[in-house]
Amino acid sequence: MTRVREHFGAAALMLAAAVALGCAPRSTAALERARAAYQDASRDEQVIENAPLALQDAEQTLEKAERSPNEKDTASLAYVVERKVEIAKANADERVAEELASHLAARAASAEIVRRAIALRAARPLEAGARDPAGRVDARPARP
């Protein structure tokens, strides 16, 4: 009987130590913020379309935060959720900008080809003009 009481005493002491070290039940203030941030992003078409994996990652971390029995872990995971939501938004921004950049790069490349063609057309008559005994130069404008 004394041994059982000793064990209870040891268990209570360890529990107290655990609580003191931060292994205590949780609160939900940070969790509410994380939920709101996630819900906001999960309704954003641009994020859904362009960063589905990052969004899913944030959702999984949110579930982990909600399940955690430890207050400090929950608060830390809630912070991680908010930052992962920011990452999802940044990834979506990056993707949109990348697509626009490749579209613009294609246009710039076409523009370069047109510019060279015009330059070539402008240069040719000058060469011909140099051989022209009358010294006549075809004064075609360099640009249309």
Binding site: V80, R83, E94, A97, L100, L104, R107, S110, R115, R143
Partner: protein, 114 residues
């Protein structure tokens, strides 16, 4: 007695240093640095570095739970710094290409003064 210890450990107080998490945080900071997050997202990078330092200090003090949490925060902050750096670079590319096309008379844009 063994059961009590087992319950306590399952409850979350760690015995081992979070080597994996601290390593991940360190690599995430390096990755962000290599993407010039210093210029594109200095606050997030500074936060990540500070958390990594505090995580390492917590490991030295054998406060492993705290070290793990700090390492996880450092990782996500470094990843955010890197993500912002990448998106800012993509935006800069868009701005550069737009500038080039605007001064390009041969393609869709009228040259100035016409």
């Amino acid at each position: 007695m063994a059961l009590t210890w087992a319950t306590l450990l399952a409850g979350g107080c760690a015995r081992h240093p979070p080597t994996t998490q601290v390593g991940m945080a360190s690599r995430a900071v390096q990755q962000a640095e290599s993407l010039q997050a210093e210029s594109y997202s200095p606050l997030d990078l500074r936060l990540a570095r500070e958390e990594l330092r505090r995580a390492e200090r917590a490991v030295e003090n054998e406060d492993y739970d705290r070290a793990r949490r700090l390492a996880e925060q450092a990782t996500v902050d470094a990843e955010l710094a890197a993500a912002k750096a990448r998106s800012e670079k993509a935006r800069a590319r868009v701005a550069h290409l737009r500038g080039r096309l605007e001064t390009e008379p041969a393609f869709g844009n009228e040259p100035p003064g016409r």
